[in-house]
Structures are given as C-alpha cells and as structure tokens.
C-alpha cells in the first residue's frame, strides 16, 4: 500500500462529498456530504503523517483526531440549525429556504 492509494481513496471520498453537498435536496444528506469531505481530509493527514514525515512525528494523526472531534461538534450545531429551520419554514430542503433571494 503506497501513499497514492490513500490519496486516491481520499480524492474519491472528497468528490463524493462535494457531489452530495451540491446535489442533494435534503439538508441531512448535505451534512453527510460535508462529513465525507472532512473524513477525506483526515485520511490525507494520516496518510501524509505515515508516509512523508518521520515516524516519531505524529502531528498529522493528532490533527486527524481534532478533525473528528470538530466534525462531531459541527454535526451537533448543524442539526440544531436544521431543527430551527424546520420549525421556521416547515421544510429542510435548502432550495425552499431562499429568503435571501435577490
């Protein structure tokens, strides 16, 4: 297993995440896309930490841990916002929440 394999996997994950974020009509699905993007980043950090930096340096892996924690916190906030949006608009479809439309 070389660094390239991890990067390819990470790129696939990232693209899927973007795709989900741009195309899904459900806010929950968008959240899931964002999680995919975050995890692709974490995967990159770990991979680079493993293959590029010296073994005693584990900064990349620690950042990945931070990223996971961040993702958890973000999910909580995001879900709370979605709940509030639902209460306001009665829907969680992002194209229906268009009060800022010019």
């Amino acid at each position: 297993m070389s660094l390239q394999h991890y990067l390819v996997i990470s790129a696939i994950l990232f693209s899927l995440g973007i795709f989900a974020v741009l195309t899904r009509k459900n806010a929950i699905s968008i959240l899931m896309g964002i999680e995919l993007i975050l995890n692709s980043c974490n995967l990159n950090f770990v991979a680079f930490s493993r293959f590029v930096t010296p073994p005693e340096n584990i900064d990349g892996q620690i950042i990945a841990i931070f990223g996971i924690v961040l993702a958890a916190a973000e999910a909580a906030v995001f879900l709370a916002i979605i709940l509030a949006i639902y209460r306001e608009f009665g829907s969680i479809r992002p194209d229906e929440v268009d009060t800022l439309k010019g």
Partner: protein
C-alpha cells in the same frame, strides 16, 4: 539732582489726577480732591523754585530713547535752561494760586472734585510741554493742554454756549496744529530728528551743510517750515486769524480763564516760537512779527467796545499775546519772554479779579441760569458750531450792571487796579511797563538798525495798540468800580470775596510790581543764536566765544547776541557801538512815546467813562461804520460762519446726497442685479444641472441594482457551486502560471 526734581514736578499733578481717575473707575472720589490737587501744585512750585537755584550754567538735555525705527530713534527727555525754569515757575505759581482761588470760587459746584482733577491734568500737560527737549514731546504736551482746555471750557456743559465754545476752541486750535505737524514733518525729513538740542539736535544741524545748505533754497525751505510750526502757535495763542475761539472760551469757569486762557496755555504758543527761535529766518520772523502786530491791534480795538468784563480781558489777552509774538518776530527774544512772564501774572490777576466780581453776583447767577436755559431752547436749534458768539451777555458779567464796586470790594478793586496800571504801561513801578517798553524798543531798534519799513509799521501798530490797551483797561476799571451803581439790586447783593480768593489776588498783585525784575531777567536770559538771520559763517564762531558784559545790554533791547557778536567779531567795533547806540536811542524814544500814549489812553478813558465829558454813545454814532466793525469783531465769526461753516455744511449735504443717490443707488442696483439675474441663473443651475446629475446617478444606481440583485438566488447550493467553480478557476490560473 535735576532729573528727580523734574520728575517730582511732573508726577505730583499727574498723581493728583490719577487718584481722581482711578477712584472714579470705582465710582468714588477722594474726599478732598481740592486740597490734594492744590498740595500737588504747591510741591511742584517748591521744586520749581529750588530748580532756579540748581539750574546749570550750561544746560544739557536729559534724554532717553523712546521709539527706534530702523536708523531713526525718537527720544523723550527734558531740557532745562533758565527759560524753562522761568516757565516752570510761572506755570506752577499761577496754577497754585488758581487752585487756591478755585477753592472759594467753585465752592458748591456739583462737579467740584472733577474741576480740580482737570486742573491737575492741565498742569501736568503744561509742565510736560515746557520741559520737553524735542518737538514730539512738545507736540504731545501741546495736544494734552488742548484737551484739558476743551474739558475745562466745557466744564458747565449743560449750557449750550459752553458746549459750543469748547468744540469751537478744540477745532480751531486743531487747524493750527495741522500746520504745526506738517512743519514738524518738514524738519524731520530734513534733519532726521525731532530733538532740538544736543549734538544731533535740529539746532546743531541747521548750521551743518550736510543737512541744510545756507543758499536761497535752503533758507526758503526753512522759512516755510518755521511759518508752519508757527501755525500751531497761531492756533494755540489765538493769533489772527484763528483768534476767535479765545473770547468764546470765556464760557469756562473764570479760574480756568485765568490759568489756561490767560497765563499758561495760550502763552505756550509764544513759548514754542521762542523755543524755535534758532530756526527762524528773516522772512519767517517778519511773518511772525506781522501776525503778532495785526493781532495786537485788531484785538485791542475789539476790546474797546465789549461790555462783558471777561471778554474785554479775553481780547486784551489776545492783544498781549500778539505783542509777545511781535517781539519774538522782531528778534527781541528776551523782551518777548519777559512780557510773557509779567503778563502771566497781571492777566491772571485781572481774570481772578473779574472772577471775584462775578462771584460777588453769584446769587444772581443761579437766577440767570434759569432764564438762560429758557431762551436757549428755541435759540440754539439751528446748527450750533460757531454760535457761541456770546452776543447775549450774562448779567453778572455785564459791565453795564456794575459800577461803584470799589467801596463794596476794596481788595478786589485794589489788586485789579495794580494789574490795570501794569498792563497799561504806567511807568516805573509796574512790571508791565518794563516788558511792554522792551518790546516797543526792540521793534523800533530793529527798524532803525535794519532800515526796514516793515518794522517801523510794526512799531506803529504796537504803539497804537498800547494806547488802546490803556484806554480799554481803564474803561473796565471805571465802569466796574467807579461811578454810581447802575443796577441797585445787584449792587446790594455784591460782597467782598472770602479770604481764600483774596489771598491769590494779593500774591499776584505783588508780582505785578517789578518783582520779576527786568535787570535780573536781562542778566540771565540769553537769546539763542539765529544762524540763518545773521550770516552763518560768523555765527559758527560767534556765539560761544562772546558773552562779554558789554553785550548784556543788547539782548534786552532786542539785538540778539549773535548779531552783537557778529558785529564785534567783524573788524568794525565802531559799528557795534553804533548798533548799541541806536538801540539805546530807540529805547529812550520808545519809552517816551509809550509813556505818552499810555497817558493819553488813560486820560481819554477818564474823560469818557469817569468825568463823562464826552459821551461814548455819541462818538459811536458819529463813527458808526468803525464802531460796527469793532462791535462785530471785524466779522471774523460771520466770515467763518458764512464761508467755512456754510461751505462745510454745503459740502456735507452734497456728500449726503451723493451717498443717498449714487452710493445707495449702486448698492441697490447691485442687489437687484444679483437677485434678478445671478440668483435666477444660479437657481436654474442648481435645480437642473446639479440636481439632475444627482438624480441621474441615483437612477442608474437603482436600475443597476435591480438587475444585479437577480444573481442572488438565495439557494445555498448555487453559491457553493460558484465557490467551487471559483476555486477550480484559481487553481487552473495558478497552474497556468
């Protein structure tokens, strides 16, 4: 020792005024301003008398620099010679006596403290004028005494006549002062200084060819400057044609008339002319002599027909001042100053005596004031400047209401008689005889030495004026003190004045005898050299080398020391003896003639007004035109009223019309043009152009905004897509680079 003494002399009266002024700011007054001012004057008098002992043989100016402008420095300082000290004594002595007299005379006046404060200010100004060593200082003192004169003539400013008289005095003297100022500037442009004495003073520089060449043009220039400076003296000393203010100045309180308008301020003009003696040239001397001679004669003839006791004295003062001018113009420097001194005493005495008489009628005065204000209401409505002619005589000053007062007021009568004998030139025992005689002798001597017809004419004028003087002065005495009372009611009310008024009269009476001794005067007072009258090349070696005893006699009779020195230093001592003999002879002739003419005047006066052998009225009827000329004061006032005042009023009206029509027209026209044309244009521009631009910009912005806002879809995924596209674009651009 000299400087502190002068400082005390100057500061005492100034302090007395300052106390009044500063307390006045706090709306209070010193409880005894009269005593304060009088004490200040007495201290100044004491110091002046002490200075007489101190005065240095070779007088030095004491100066400090005052203002520096580039290379030019104006200094301020004192110059003390015997003439200055004599003037100091005259001023402080007369001023002190007038202060004491005023304590009685002004008693009960509502502005009693102010009167004394003004007197103090006047004394300070006059003393400052006297001791100044430069023309600038003299000019400052000159204007200050003019101001004090204005304040004191108008002291009873409730009276319209007094208010008008003080304005008239101020404006008339100002006319002369303009000439004087121009003269000062002329001297300044030529000599670069206004100091008179010292190595860099004007009197040193007039003989310096660097500054003034002694050729015809230089002399002509100096003559013009001298005559212009003399203009100031014409105004201040009330010489023809600016004499009209002095008789009107009698509206002021009588002690003021005695101090300012008889003894000191009006003599300042003579003093100035005497101070400027070295710059006089033959032609400017002649102008001065003629002005003096004409004044002496004109004023004396007017005095004959006056009935107001103070106005007789006023015209007499004008006439005597003319005498002094004549003396100085004729080169009789010492005689002029001697007459100034003696005149100061006996004329102050005459005025104070007349004040005493007026005071005797004081109860009538109050009564009269009420009447007076009544007719003023409709009389003084018209333009009032020159209307202080005093054609209406206050009854307490009208000699036709007097008569027989000698029994009622023996002291006043006695002292006034002494002064009258003195001014009339009654021989030997009275100072006036000696001074008047010296002037007549000087004029005649000058005429005989120079063979100039001018000076014979001037001598004749002075002689006639002397006779007239004796006539009108005895007319005053006879009408006031002799005969039967003409107005019994007023006569019953009359009383001798209190001692505080009589004592000054007595002191002045003593001084009207030759206490101021002609011999002493002659010994001490030396005329300064006149380099441009007596060949300059001689004068330069002359004056300092020659002060022998033989010449001391010359000065008095009119020949100046320089002239004597010139004659003596020239090879011809015989000629000098000739000159001396001529002056001696002229003195004898003049003495005899003046005694005769004074006797004639007194005799005529006695016949007319005491014995009533002839009737003055019938003489007046016979010579009606002449009488009218005298009665109307040679129509000077009418001339000024009719020409100068009318011209000024006409000019003012013209200017007013110009202002109202042309200037206002221009202003209004500009306003109309501005409103109708410019304002309309600017309004149009604002509304259309400026507002148009603003509105168009707003509209364009509004429309653009309406279109651009469409891109804000509000769909979050659109935004994200654009962001992603942007990132891709940026990456591609960076790759391409």
């Amino acid at each position: 020792m000299v400087v502190p003494l002068i400082s005390i002399i100057l500061l005492c009266p100034l302090a007395a005024f300052a106390i009044f002024a500063l307390l006045g700011l706090a709306k209070r007054s010193f409880p005894r301003q009269d005593l304060l001012s009088t004490a200040a004057m007495l201290i100044a008098l004491g110091c002046s008398l002490y200075l007489l002992k101190e005065v240095v043989p070779k007088p030095e100016p004491h100066t400090v620099d005052w203002i520096s402008l580039g290379k030019i420095t104006f200094s301020m300082g004192f110059y003390l010679d015997i003439v200055t000290v004599i003037m100091l004594i005259v001023v402080t002595l007369v001023s002190s006596l007038v202060h004491i007299f005023s304590i009685g005379y002004m008693h009960g006046d509502p502005r009693y403290p102010r009167f004394f404060a003004y007197l103090s200010l006047f004394s300070f100004s006059m003393l400052f004028l006297v001791v100044s060593d430069n023309l600038l200082g003299i000019y400052i003192g000159w204007e200050l005494v003019g101001l004090c004169s204005y304040l004191l003539i108008g002291f009873w400013f409730e009276k319209d006549s007094a208010a008008n008289a003080c304005k008239k005095a101020f404006l008339t003297t100002r006319v002369g002062d303009v000439g004087m100022f121009i003269g000062m500037m002329m001297l300044f442009t030529r000599f670069d200084t206004l100091s008179l004495y010292g190595d860099n003073g004007i009197f040193t520089r007039i003989t310096n060819p660097e500054y003034l060449t002694a050729d015809a043009s230089g002399i002509f220039w100096l003559s013009i400057a001298g005559v212009l400076i003399f203009c100031g003296a014409i105004g201040k000393s009330a010489q023809v044609p600016l004499h009209t203010w002095l008789p009107d100045a009698m509206e002021g309180p009588t002690p003021v008339s005695a101090l300012i308008h008889a003894a000191t301020m009006v003599a300042a003009g003579v003093y100035l002319t005497a101070r400027m003696f070295p710059i006089l040239t033959p032609s400017s001397s002649l102008v001065i002599a003629y002005v003096g001679g004409i004044t002496a004669l004109v004023a004396a003839t007017i005095a004959i027909v006056r009935f107001d006791i103070k106005r007789v004295l006023a015209y007499s003062t004008v006439s005597q001042l003319g005498y002094m001018m004549l003396a100085i113009g004729a080169g009789s420097y010492v005689a002029g100053l001697f007459h100034l001194t003696t005149h100061a005493f006996f004329k102050a005495l005459l005025f104070l005596g007349s004040g005493s008489v007026i005071h005797a009628f004081h109860a009538m005065h109050a009564h009269h004031d009420e009447e007076h204000t009544d007719d003023n209401e409709h009389e003084h409505d018209n333009h009032g400047l020159v209307h202080a002619h005093g054609s209406e005589i206050p009854p307490d000053q009208d000699m036709r209401n007097m008569g027989g007062l000698r029994r009622k007021m023996p002291w006043t009568f006695g002292t006034m008689l002494v002064a009258t004998l003195s001014i009339s030139g009654v021989p030997f025992f009275f100072s006036g005889f000696w001074s008047k005689d010296a002037i007549l002798a000087g004029a005649l001597g000058k005429a005989m030495v120079s063979h100039s017809p001018h000076y014979y004419i001037l001598f004749g004028m002075a002689l006639i004026a002397a006779g007239i003087t004796a006539f009108y002065m005895f007319r005053l005495i006879f009408m006031t003190f002799f005969g039967e009372p003409r107005n019994q009611e007023m006569h019953d009310m009359a009383h001798e004045s209190p001692w505080v008024m009589v004592v000054p009269l007595l002191v002045l009476a003593v001084l009207s005898f030759p206490v101021v001794n002609p011999i002493w005067f002659n010994d001490y007072v030396k005329p300064p050299p006149q380099p441009h009258i007596h060949a300059p090349q001689h004068a330069q070696l002359g004056p300092d080398t020659k002060t022998g005893d033989a010449n001391s006699g010359f000065a008095f009779f009119g020949i100046s020391e320089a002239e004597a020195a010139e004659e003596e230093s020239g090879k011809n001592t015989e000629k000098a003896n000739d000159v001396y003999r001529i002056y001696k002879l002229s003195h004898n002739i003049a003495m005899v003639l003046s005694i005769c003419i004074a006797g004639l005047g007194i005799l005529l006066s006695w016949l007319f007004y005491h014995r009533r052998k002839f009737s003055a009225e019938s003489v007046a009827t016979t010579f009606r035109p002449v009488y009218n000329l005298f009665w109307n004061k040679y129509y000077f006032d009418e001339f000024y009223d009719g020409v100068l005042v009318a011209l000024t009023v006409w000019k003012s009206r013209l200017f007013a019309k110009f202002d109202l029509s042309i200037i206002d027209g221009i202003v209004n026209g500009v306003a109309t043009i501005t409103r109708q044309i410019f304002a309309a244009f600017i309004g149009f521009f604002d509304n259309r152009v400026v507002d148009g631009i603003v509105n168009r910009v707003a509209e364009v912005t509004w429309a653009a905004g309406g279109r651009i806002r469409r891109i804000q879809t509000g769909a979050i995924q659109t935004y994200l897509f654009v962001v992603l596209g942007g990132i891709v674009l940026i990456i591609l651009i960076f790759r391409a680079l």
